[in-house]
Symmetry: C2
Subunit: 213 residues, 2 copies
DNA sequence: CCGATATCTTGACGCTGCAAAGATTGCAGA
DNA sequence: TCTGCAATCTTTGCAGCGTCAAGATATCGG
């Protein structure tokens, strides 16, 4: 806990994750190595092994951190958006794309099932929190009540709901991913947010209209 | 050209790319190494250097191959779809998602600007061919005439067209990416294609309606 | 107080990408 | 046909990586 370095670090696991995130920020996924994480944490190169097993273990926990951060961003933006349905959908898109821009390497790792352990409880739980937030945004567009993460799977019995979730989430995710990887050159930096808002609003209205009919 | 091995291979560059694609298929992006490519091509571990410079050069060319393959798939599916606008849009989604399923590692590499050289002429040209195909699908939905890759940038002057492209492409790409990375558990394998068709058709109709108004 | 356990270090192995230098081949011009 | 040059491939070497095994050190329950 203290800043002092002793033989036993005290909180090495978290310190290594902090270091790992710093490495990702500075060097990218390419430059991400266990040894660099250990160096930044001020420990020997084999220290991470005891806490994470292998590099996949570290990336899995970092991905989980990413989902938790994304969930926080979503909730903050949604709180600020109030009760207007269009505003909520745009806030969701904003938070999602904003996260991808702010933490590009996290975003990459979170959606790389070959890089992490998709079975890890911490990761699936964190991802479930995020998906619940996204699902509830769609549910509100459809005039339905919120669900909690425990009921997420049970709530997926409606074909129409799933279709609306796909319409909403795939658009937001596709935009975030393509933009992140530089595949949307026709969207200038200046018009970036406007484009996202316009397209999101159209989809929100479509989902609302479908639900009303 | 011949199957015989001499000191000079004759067509080592293509052979190394073939080997690289085989490595991706068998070992994934994780197991992709220059030395393994060289081993499979039956040459020394430093042979790739002369043709590609470094590993990024190889991945760049493999990504270009991926875009060319995706373009071929798009064209084949579109030809089979005929002139019906809904069918064309669904065929596009089918081809795009089908490619991601058939060549998951290619798909990953193609959209990893940190892994390839995004400036490489061969890659940008191949990607332009793909984007032109996608753009023209949207243009037809809007009742507009096709353009060729050379005029792609010039054709991006219409805000409405760009918005429709985003609506269409982000959905298809987001679906392909999320499905590939195992993030759509609520979409069962059996309903997979149906979901994609349903959501795509809704978007196609929305784009057509917007254009008609 | 002491032994068991958790935590971290040291050392080693094979693998990797990359660079430099050497070997082999094909080819253009005399 | 011969010769020198450029292209192509091999060999060698280096530093860095992930992982494993063994050893050192601190913490904690008895």
């Amino acid at each position: 806990m203290t800043g002092k370095r002793t033989y036993h670090h005290g909180d090495l696991k978290e310190a290594l994750l902090d270091a790992g995130e710093a490495v990702l920020r500075d060097l990218g996924l390419q430059g991400f190595t266990l040894r660099e994480c250990a160096r930044r944490a001020g420990v020997s190169h084999a220290a991470p092994k005891h806490h994470f097993g292998d590099v996949r273990g570290v990336l899995t926990e970092i991905a989980a951190r990413g989902f938790r951060q994304l969930t926080r961003r979503l909730r903050a933006k949604l709180r600020a958006a109030g009760h207007d349905l269009d505003a909520q959908f745009m806030a969701t898109a904003d938070a999602y794309v904003g996260f991808a821009e702010a933490y590009p390497e996290h975003f990459r790792i979170m959606f790389r099932c070959d890089l992490v352990n998709p079975e890890a409880p911490g990761l699936t739980a964190a991802a479930f929190e995020t998906f619940t937030e996204l699902t509830n945004v769609i549910r509100r567009q459809r005039g339905e009540a919120d669900v909690n993460p425990q009921c997420l799977n049970a709530a997926m019995d409606s074909t129409e709901l799933i279709n609306d979730i796909l319409i909403g989430w795939c658009h937001i995710h596709g935009y975030a991913h393509l933009k992140l990887e530089g595949q949307l050159p026709m969207v200038s930096k200046a018009m970036h947010r406007t484009r996202l808002h316009t397209s999101s609003q159209r989809l929100a209205k479509m989902i609302q209209a479908q639900a009303a009919s």
